[in-house]
Symmetry: C2
Subunit: 250 residues, 2 copies
DNA sequence: GGCTCATGTAAAGATCGTTCACATGAGCTG
DNA sequence: CAGCTCATGTGAACGATCTTTACATGAGCC
């Protein structure tokens, strides 16, 4: 009966017109603010200007709304990873690292999605569409790993691509959850999460025999262009390089 | 007024005697069952056989109970990591990997603690004791990394120990959150989380120049004893070893 | 114009978190 | 042992949330 309510209703009529979408947006905002735990179904309804019971016409319950958001998150995630991977251009290793950065960027820039996807307690298999979306996203990493695995320098054992993909995913997720978002970011670090992950991945790749000693960590000069995909002779890093992927040793 | 209630009270008298501890235990059980999000203050009270208001005599609010549990979790975590590290015996690399396994074992065997520590939304700096406990636990990993860094084979750049520690932590945490617990464990994997992490760490260490090609992944025969801490000449793995830390290539 | 069904509302029940005034009894003081 | 005190537990109550149920509205279609 409040004036505002009548006002709203006058604007949009008895029927909202696009409540489902409005609820998703509202929830997204609330999760970004207060985390998936603090988000409340009633609040989302209020924010959309409808009664507390209305959302039940569009979502079975609060959890279904949450898993819808998680699903949407995985879809956007997939898009960003795909763009970052850019089919391996200009060279596989560079593109691979770009994927890692995109992972962190997503966690940082879309905290609400990331939260719903990985930290809200929504099980991956809550709903088939969610699971499918999650798998599609992971498949980007997997495809990238496959391309990378195919490049193992001669004389080096070829690692299973699936394993590589899982490794990379765990690194990115570990760095993101521990250091790259909200509260967790308060842990004091000697370097940025991006640098941390980049060094981690480079060391890992070197452990697999890939030549990765082409640039220091700083974002200064562009690395000298590498002949794309031509494994430069012996894959093993030249014995005893004095500097690692983490920059100059002091 | 119920018979049960009178019964309980007759057994223990008006005062509970050890309510704080009982609440912590009850909460632990509930979190293990339904996750930190699903755990309710009222439930814990009920489980301890006490009115819903009683817990407020021991905890300012629900969040304080949660962060108490997180703190306790970090303390137990520290103990287990310390035991696993065993001051670097019998050799640093072996002990280091044992720490990784202990990390996963803790996540698997103490889901309630792990949940409260890392997934409950309790910020690390919620309370100074919690933060301190968290740092003490991390310091075990850090100390181990320091010992490891000191062993870098001659001719190899020495990585910052802090960075190594953060890398290892992120790997362990990433594998644990994504693959090693409850709902998340439903993702289908080609290998166990333990093996996954072990391979990841070994490849990483190899990337840093450590010789790590001493055993396949299977848990069969004990690895041949390695002369403790005698960096065997050139640290770089003998060029072109045909099998990696992940086992035989097929 | 009238029907129908998706969509929204109001009201109500169950549960929680939290607070407040009050009850109990364990332990100290004399 | 009497009496005091204070930590600890109780019950009742408030406001908020989630969810269901019966009812209202109106958009689209015949």
């Amino acid at each position: 009966m409040s004036w505002r309510k009548e006002q709203r209703r006058a604007e949009r009529g008895y029927h909202h017109g696009n409540l489902k979408e409005a609820l998703l947006q509202a929830a997204l905002g609330l999760i970004a603010e207060k985390g998936a735990a603090g988000f409340t179904f009633a609040d989302a309804a209020r924010m959309a200007g409808v009664s507390a019971a209305a959302p039940y016409r569009h979502f079975r319950d609060r959890d279904e709304l949450l898993s819808s958001i998680a699903q949407r998150g995985f879809e956007q995630f997939e898009q960003r990873l795909t763009a970052a991977w850019d089919d391996g251009r200009p060279d596989t290793v560079t593109a691979f690292e770009r994927v890692g950065k995109a992972y962190l960027a997503f966690a940082r820039e879309e905290p609400a999605f990331y939260n719903a996807m990985f930290e809200s307690g929504v099980p991956v298999d809550a709903n088939p569409a969610l699971q499918a979306a999650s798998e599609r996203a992971f498949n980007i990493i997997r495809a990238a790993a496959e391309r990378l695995a195919a490049l193992t320098p001669p004389g080096t054992a070829r690692p299973p691509a699936m394993m590589m993909a899982l490794h990379i995913w765990s690194m990115a997720h570990g760095v993101a959850s521990l250091f790259s978002r909200g509260d967790a970011a308060r842990r004091k670090l000697p370097m940025s999460p991006d640098e941390l992950l980049e060094a981690e991945v480079l060391i890992y790749l070197r452990g697999l025999g890939f030549p990765t000693d082409r640039r220091p960590v700083g974002k200064g000069a562009e690395p000298p262009p590498v002949p794309p995909e031509a494994p430069s002779g012996s894959g093993v890093p030249p014995g005893g390089t004095p500097s690692g992927p983490w920059g100059k040793p002091k």
